[in-house]
């Protein structure tokens, strides 16, 4: 299992670097934007909250950077990400805890769906090269050149609004209380449909193109010719010889594309005022709420790392060569 160990080590390293970037950024850049925020909120902040922001943003100039780094880690490990200014005086951690499930549900499900759907379409487009399926290329090229959020705007203009079928903003009908009751769930699904389709359309094109190209490459491999020579059915050759192998780079590429896809989907949330991390990030940017921005960056990075780890596990199952003598 040296493969998994290596990957785990790599993710720990990445997490450490992301956290350290977060630590260093406010300390490297001149000016103390957070100081002015603290000054403005004077009187409403408890000493403990001020102390926490001092640790996060390095306002304690007397301490050496190493001591600051130690305090920083200690505070993070306690789950203290400071106070949000956009949602004053809610702690960043609880703002994130409220919005994370929305993003996980929306982005998680649509990303998975877009990967599966895009890969399947790519398999067909690559296998039936020269047929009408080649038309997917110009369409997907166009879709992948459009920013996700703009497609979202168009979707709202076309399908939502006063006489539209879908709600144009929010995560559920105002007035409902989030919970596991049918009214709320139905409303949540209805609200997430349009953003989900937007994300699906924009992110699918990448998977289609890469899978199609891999299929074209793999179709020329000897073992595919052997499969044809064996007189296997077209389906069998396509699925378990060509696609099965073409899938491998796609799965290992999943990890790398995930960061991009997540970035794009955060923006879709903004357009739809969807109560997830992207929308919070947007509000944090507008309010210059640095603690919230940094907290969201950390959480997104850690979630992407976790998703990557899952993709690695999938790869391990799919490619026998990585399972070699552990």
């Amino acid at each position: 299992m040296s493969y998994l160990l290596r990957r785990t080590g790599f993710y720990l390293l990445t997490a450490w670097i992301a956290i350290t970037i977060n630590f260093l950024l406010p300390r490297l850049i001149p000016g103390d934007p957070v100081m002015s925020l603290i000054n403005r909120a004077q009187g409403q902040l408890s000493t403990q909250a001020i102390q926490s922001l001092y640790v996060l943003f390095g306002l304690n100039k007397d301490e050496s950077i190493f001591v600051q780094y130690g305090h920083y880690w200690a505070q993070l490990l306690h789950g203290d990400l400071g106070l949000s200014f956009a949602f004053f005086p809610t702690p960043v951690a609880s703002v994130i805890a409220d919005s994370l499930p929305w993003t996980l549900a929306l982005v998680g499900i649509t990303t998975l769906a877009s990967f599966l759907l895009g890969t399947a379409l790519g398999v067909y487009a690559g296998w039936r090269r020269g047929s009408w399926l080649d038309l997917v290329i110009p369409v997907t090229t166009f879709l992948s050149s459009v920013p996700y959020f703009w497609l979202g705007l168009i979707a709202i203009a076309l399908f939502a609004g006063v006489n539209g079928i879908f709600p144009s903003s929010g995560g559920y009908e105002p007035g409902l209380v989030p919970g596991w009751d049918p009214d709320f769930l139905l409303s949540a699904v209805q609200h997430s449909l349009l953003p989900a389709v937007t994300i699906l359309l924009s992110s699918m094109s990448g998977w289609i193109l890469s899978m199609r190209n891999m299929m074209v490459t793999v179709a020329a491999e000897d073992y595919v010719t052997v499969a044809h020579a064996k007189g296997l059915s077209e389906r069998r050759v396509m699925v378990s010889y060509a696609a099965r192998n073409a899938l491998l780079p796609s799965v290992s590429g999943f990890a790398l594309s995930l960061g991009l896809v997540v970035g794009g989907t955060l923006l879709v949330e903004i357009v739809f005022s969807y109560p997830g991390l992207g929308f919070e990030l947007f509000q944090a940017v507008g309010a210059k709420d640095y603690p919230l921005m940094q907290g969201i960056f950390l959480i997104i990075t850690l979630s992407v790392l976790a998703a990557n780890f899952v993709a690695d596990l999938a790869y391990l199952v799919l490619d026998p060569r990585t399972r070699r003598e552990g």
């Binding site: 990445t14 920013p147 703009w150 074209v216 020329a220 010719t225 960061g259 970035g263 969201i296 992407v304």
Partner: protein, 296 residues
Amino acid sequence: MRLNAKTKIGLVLLAGFALFAVIGPWIAPYDPTERGGDMLQPPSAQHWFGTTHLGQDILSQVLTGTRGVLLVGFVAGVVATVLAVLVGIASGYLTGLAAEGLSAVSNVFLVIPALPLIIIVASTLPGTGDWTIALVIGLTSWAWGARVLRAQTLSLRRRDYVQAARATGEPTWRIIGFEILPNLTAVIASGFVGTVIFAVLSEITLAFIGVSDISDWNWGTILFWAQSQQALAQGAWWWFVPAGLAIALLGTALSLLNFGIDEFVSPRLRACAGTAKVRMRVGFTPVLRREGGPGE
């Protein structure tokens, strides 16, 4: 090198954008920030793309914004490509801890979601003009190119002629400059175009969510105002459609260019000549008898 149709279309579109980037501010019929009497008007003879809530001419905003978009895209592309070439070739050609470290760092930057990173870096900076944004994007988006170049360099390094050059004691800079770099041209070019696409989308996003300086016109700024003034709710489609189409067109032009480069590098992706009538199928070679015997 013969250019295929895709590459040609891409180049022509790109040349058009470059032209507008240069002359855009001069041929714009109005000052993009100047307020006018016609507020929130749909497209008309006076205002081809309509007007904003302040009566600003949207066509002028799009034309003026082209320069910023292209400038940021290309500067970021150049910065990222230079970094990618340096890191990619060094980690592919050299051996030992330094090379391993460089490769690990580029993998780390690949996995960290780029857009949130760019947002927190850009919003921490005191000023966010075009050049700052271009630098931030360039400095954070080199990792993909570096990874591809490293893989290519690793395989080139094992080629006979490189081994021979090393054996005869040619200095490393000469081998890299004369044996390795020329063979990476296409990969570098395609990486550059890819980075420009990414940079354009990122800068527009940054402007859209209000991280960039909103006094610089760029297509994202137009969308920022459209969004913040509820253009959608007011049915002002002309406010966000032109800028979005311009982005899509620029992105498509760059993607077409990259397809051309990809097909040049890996011939398997090239469509075969004359496939219009006969579909080439893997596993079932077409039989086209000239004499017209019993066949397909």
